[in-house]
Amino acid sequence: MNALLRVLAIGRNTFTGLVRQKVFYFLLIFALVVIGNSSFLAKFSFQEEFQMLKDTALGAMAVFLSLLAILTTANLIPKDLEDRTIFTILSKPVPRREYLLGKLLGVAYLLALSALVMGILFAAVLFLREQAALAETRATFSGTPQELAQALDAVRKGAFSGGMVEAMTLLFVKAVLLASLTLLISTFATSGIFAIIVATSAYFIGHLQSSAREYWMAGIGVHWWTRIFSAFVALMFPDLQAFNLSDDIVAGTLPSAALLWQTLALGGIYASVYYLVACLLFQNREL
């Protein structure tokens, strides 16, 4: 119980520290992207407008959450070392694993809040555009009441298609995974910039992991070293492509509950394993 309270306290402090660094300013950029995009897209048909609004808003959310996860986590340990707060914390009866878990929790709070705010903003813009499209359809439609009802229904379906919440949840889980991976890297990194570079590289390689895995498992290999390299990528990096379902969700493909839950579980397993390995490496690190 005490351990949980300590972890929560560290998490809260980490979150407060990150908020003080004004990381939420990126939300202004997100708002500009969504609102600006929405005004610009007004010249398209409402179906095109809704489609592109969803495409760009979810894309922007993915970019911001991934950046936020990597950039904030990479600087947590170096900053605590620089401010010497880590010594104050660890001199108390706080095990290092609790310190790391608290840090990860703080970043997870930040990511959850950011995803929530971006989701609300996106939904609000989409709702306003939907209302405008509905009003326009009512004003200009000349068919029978049943046909008008069908047309209005088409507008509503075009705006709020299913799967948006699922897509955002997957983006959040992917961001937590990235935070955990970055935390692992920062336990042996010599500086924040090193952790950022390695985590960003891992991000790109992680998107190729599924290709490397297929290549390796199919037994295709011109040279023995290409097979070893594929095996290395397949085993050591997370499969980040597995979380990229939002591209198809905005196109109208909905994931089954089995696919969604298994993907979320995969994210949870990756994040837990990276945290455990981070604990292992951080346990006896000289500070």
Partner: protein, 263 residues
């Protein structure tokens, strides 16, 4: 931490990550198979796409930003439309539909731009010397529009919308009424298809002389279905076919049409 201990911990960490990676490998492969079966990750990001979207676009697509890249290219295609650069538009539409093959809107509007706007513009293109060349260009754009719809159908076999649009293209642009009727019939049989598609099948079948009996049966079925299907257009055509086919008086219809006019 001593040097030896540090090395052994690092080695242990690497082994732990690799062991977990190995353990979850079959699960990952199964999960990917489920995703592909459900229509996810269907896009093959190959060298041809790399050439079309450039290095940064390809990297973005590879990193899970296919949809935003497609949206940006769509906006670029809109700019090309405003400048009536039809060739560039077709190329951009190809890239967009390659990136987002499950977005019906992209196939639908790309086909409309090609088969309707570009084909009409081709007839007024003074750079093409002679009527024959302009007509040839018009047909090529219609063919291009049809090609978008056919590829869209291959990628989205359960969607009625693209079959309906192909039926309209065959009806209005190629005037192939038999093929249009078949497309409308395919559309009408798919989930979520609007009821008017059944009437469209009958209208188009009626335009094919050798399928007059078949068309008559369709109109008769629509008439028997009653309600919204018994429109003035259906009734007028049914009466016309009764006269054309010499249907005996006792078998002919007599009822009044539904109140509101409908296609």
């Amino acid at each position: 931490m001593s040097g030896g201990s540090s090395v052994s911990r690092s080695l242990l960490a690497v082994l732990l990550v690799a062991a977990v990676g190995l353990l979850i490998l079959p699960w990952q492969a199964r999960l990917q198979a489920i995703a592909k079966r459900e229509g996810f990750h269907a896009v093959v990001l190959g060298v041809d796409l790399r050439e079309r979207v450039g290095q940064s676009g390809f990297l973005a697509a590879l990193s899970g930003f296919r949809a935003p890249v497609a949206a940006l290219l769509w906006i670029e295609a809109h700019g090309a439309w405003e400048k009536t650069e039809w060739g560039r538009m077709a190329s951009l539409f190809n890239t967009v539909t390659t990136l987002q093959p499950h977005t019906l809107l992209y196939w639908d509007i790309a086909a409309w731009h090609m088969a309707w706007n570009a084909s009409a513009a081709a007839l007024q293109n003074t750079k093409l010397q002679g009527e024959a060349l302009r007509e040839r260009a018009r047909r090529q754009y219609i063919r291009l529009g049809r090609d978008f719809l056919e590829r869209g159908i291959v990628n989205n076999p359960d969607s009625y919308l693209l079959h309906e649009r192909l039926g309209i293209l065959l009806r209005d642009k190629e005037e192939d009424h038999a093929a249009a009727a078949d497309e409308f019939a395919k559309a009408a049989a798919l989930p979520g298809a609007p009821s008017y598609l059944k009437r469209f099948v009958a209208y188009e079948t009626a335009k094919v002389p050798e399928r007059a009996r078949e068309a008559y049966r369709m109109f008769r079925e629509l008439y028997e279905e009653g309600g919204m299907m018994r429109t003035p257009a259906v009734l007028a055509r049914l009466r016309g076919m009764e006269s054309r086919l010499g249907i005996p008086d006792g078998e002919r219809v007599t009822a009044a049409p539904a109140s509101s006019p409908r296609p």
